[in-house]
């Protein structure tokens, strides 16, 4: 049509090329591959036998904790529970690289890290059942965050607080692959970047947000590259390789504590079980064929093989540790059973530091009822 600007013969920008370049991401970091072969000898050699044993023990502990908790769940003795099997390398590898003074902001699947960071199993069980005593963690951590993304904005704040306090500590937080679609996830990382605060954001990418596959969350070829939007360095790591997970988390912490600002890590892992104990059935949306390669990549298998070859680990040792862990779980649930039920008067008392006159009236009424 006359007067209309003709389509340029040569485009000023090649969007196809830019899009293609987005997929040009480095391979996930790995130290031990799925065939139990050491693919990064230099890094592997930095670990003593004791350290490798410790990794194994922590993963076996987490798997046993999960199995016993799942049993309790089937018996109707737990409340909300999000299975952790398959994520041992990702969870233990990252949390073991942290220090006691670091501040943990966990999501609801991060109970093993929470226990590792100072909570007791009894507290974790009470949290699961829904009792305030489950939230009185001794360590520096919040209770598991149910609102996906909220922990990320809070992490930026905790990290700024630690920086202002001049503390030798970082704030670290977990979310899943689905969580990266939340506005708060972006805002949290972007604030942390803008203020260059000591924060570590860990995305445990198990490929599913309940039934929604990771491919439906975003067109981004990796979740790690989302950190680019915030000017934060990020990396993908084989989330089934505890030596790699630990090494990356440790490197991140060292980098952060040196005052270089936040880091984001994406661990590639798998959720062997259901999304949660609340009636989710993965057979509705996952095939055995699709999951099988992940089961073959079980984080326990490869380290077990290496340690067995080194004559550092045996079935007997593993069985003993599993039994010890399950016994501890049984003790913990007994303790949880014995916890006094909550009273409404106590709930009213902790709504504000000083109860308002109306709350005082309500407290008096409930105390009278409760004393009968």
């Amino acid at each position: 049509m006359k007067g209309m600007i003709e389509m340029a013969k040569k485009s000023i920008v090649d969007f196809s090329k830019i899009k293609k370049n987005l997929s040009d991401i480095p391979k996930p970091i790995q130290v031990i591959n799925e065939h139990a072969e050491i693919v990064n000898q230099d890094i592997f050699d930095t670990f003593s036998d004791e350290q490798l044993l410790e990794f194994m023990k922590k993963m076996v502990w987490e798997r046993a904790l999960h199995e016993q908790t799942m049993n309790f769940s089937r018996q109707g003795r737990m409340g909300f529970y999000a299975p952790t099997a398959g994520e041992e390398a990702s969870e233990m590898g990252t949390v073991l690289a942290m220090e006691k003074q670091d501040y943990l902001l966990p999501a609801y699947r991060d109970i093993p890290q929470l226990i590792q960071h100072g909570a007791t199993i009894t507290q974790a069980y009470l949290w699961s059942r829904g009792h305030v005593k489950g939230n009185e963690f001794a360590g520096r951590s919040l209770m598991p965050q149910i609102i996906i993304g909220a922990a990320y904005v809070e992490t930026a704040g905790v990290a700024l607080g630690l920086k202002k306090n001049g503390e030798n500590a970082i704030a670290f937080s977990y979310t899943g692959d689905g969580g990266t679609s939340q506005g708060d996830s972006y805002e949290g990382m972007n604030f942390a970047g803008a203020y260059q605060v000591p924060a570590l954001f860990i995305v445990q990418d198990n490929n599913y947000a309940i039934s929604t596959p990771r491919s439906k969350q975003t067109a981004a070829p990796s979740l790690a590259q989302k950190a680019v939007a915030c000017g934060i360095p990020s990396v993908q790591v084989d989330g089934m390789d505890i030596v790699a997970c630990y090494s990356v988390a440790k490197a991140a912490r060292d980098y952060i504590i040196a005052g270089n600002g936040p880091v984001m890590i994406e661990t590639l892992t798998d959720r062997y079980g259901a999304h949660s104990s609340a009636g989710d059935d993965p057979s509705r949306y996952r095939t055995k064929e699709e999951q099988q390669p992940w089961l073959d990549r079980d984080p326990l298998i490869r380290l077990r093989q290496i340690l067995t070859n080194k004559k550092l680990w045996s079935d007997e040792q593993e069985e003993a540790l599993v039994k010890e862990t399950k016994d501890a779980c049984k003790e913990a649930i007994k303790e949880a059973d014995q916890t006094e039920p909550e009273k409404v008067s106590d709930m009213l008392k902790r709504t504000f530091e000083v109860p308002t006159p109306e709350l005082q009236d309500e407290i008096a009424k409930f105390e009278e009822k409760e004393s009968k």
């Binding site: 809070e154 905790v158 530091e353």
Partner: protein, 325 residues
């Protein structure tokens, strides 16, 4: 004593608290070098440094998350949300997180946060700037909502809010910002939270109001006094929790009540006051409870504000209706 505007009273309170408590932090969009879009934080960054008064990225949920995290690490945050309409962006951080901190952690952790945010009609703002959103927040246990009606209370209530160890949503009225001045003490003083004030004594009817409507109620009372109707005007000051004792005391004397709010009628502060009276003090009354509120529409476009916002005449009409019941 110095004659100060509502804005200057707020700046005064912030200045005093920055000076007195090294743990206080002010942050938000444009609150630093710019001194805030209404100049409420004017000069504070210059005086106390960027460590204490600083700008944030443009993201309200992030700002509130920042406040929660800072509260957890022993700071006393005073974040600002530029206009209360933007609090929607931060509802989870406010209602889902900071308001629950003490409850969740059985007193082991808390959120000593004061969120400042302007609201209120009559200044022809763009959309989502003037909405009266207190209704959304008064139903949140663990959160206080404070709405001062004059410069003296603005300063005293803000200092009380900052000193309080629980989260406070401190809503500042845009219309009052520059339209009223009052003599206020230069030094530190507090006005107690959770307490209503009788701002004008009277015998025939009680008018309960808050925010900019207190002034409207006082003007209405002045006009009504010329017709020998004596109004007792109560300023709620804190709209959650509500000080019902002061209201009950007043209606025990007047036996009639009109509740006034600028917000839409639906499920508002007025409804809460009315139901408290209905539940606990109905026998004090010898006429129905009168209510003056905005129509149940979305907040109007700028040019329609004056036909929408309840003003003096609406209060006069309602008082006469109840008096003559």
């Amino acid at each position: 004593m110095t004659k100060k505007s509502y804005i200057q009273a707020i700046t005064d309170a912030l200045d005093i608290m920055l000076k007195e408590d090294p743990k206080t932090l002010i942050f938000g969009e444009d609150v630093g070098k710019n001194g805030g879009v209404f100049r409420t934080t004017q000069g504070l960054q210059e005086k106390y440094g960027e460590d204490r008064v600083f700008d944030t990225p443009l993201a309200e949920s992030g700002i509130m998350g920042l406040a929660i995290g800072l509260g957890l690490t022993d700071w006393r945050p005073i974040p600002e949300i530029q206009f209360s309409g933007f609090t929607f962006e931060a509802v989870d951080s406010i209602a889902g997180q900071m308001a629950r901190m003490r409850f969740r952690f059985n007193n082991k952790k808390h959120s000593p946060i004061t969120i400042r945010s302007p609201y209120g009609g009559g200044t022809h703002t763009a959309e989502m700037h003037s909405d009266n959103l207190e209704n959304f927040f008064t139903g949140v246990p663990g959160l206080r909502v404070v709405m001062p009606s004059n410069p003296y209370d603005a300063k005293g209530l803000l200092i009380s809010s900052i000193e309080n160890n629980d989260p406070v949503l401190f809503l500042e009225n845009l219309k009052l910002y520059r339209s009223m001045k009052a003599d206020i003490p230069d030094e530190k003083y507090t006005v107690p939270l959770d307490q209503a004030k009788v701002v004008q004594a009277g015998n025939d009817i009680t008018i309960v109001a808050y925010g900019a409507q207190v002034q409207e109620a006082q003007h209405a009372a002045e006009d009504l006094s010329k017709e020998n109707i004596s109004c007792e005007v109560i300023d709620l000051c804190t709209v959650s929790p509500i000080d019902t004792a002061t209201i009950f005391q007043s209606i025990a004397k007047t036996h009639k009540v009109v509740i006034v709010q600028e917000a839409q009628k639906m499920a508002g502060v007025g409804a809460q006051v009315a139901s408290e009276i209905g539940e606990k003090a109905i026998m004090s009354l010898d006429a129905p409870i009168g209510r003056v509120a905005a129509p149940n529409t979305i907040y109007p476009f700028a040019l329609a504000e004056e036909v929408w916002i309840p003003r003096k005449q609406a209060i006069i009409d309602k008082v006469k209706e109840i008096i003559n019941y």
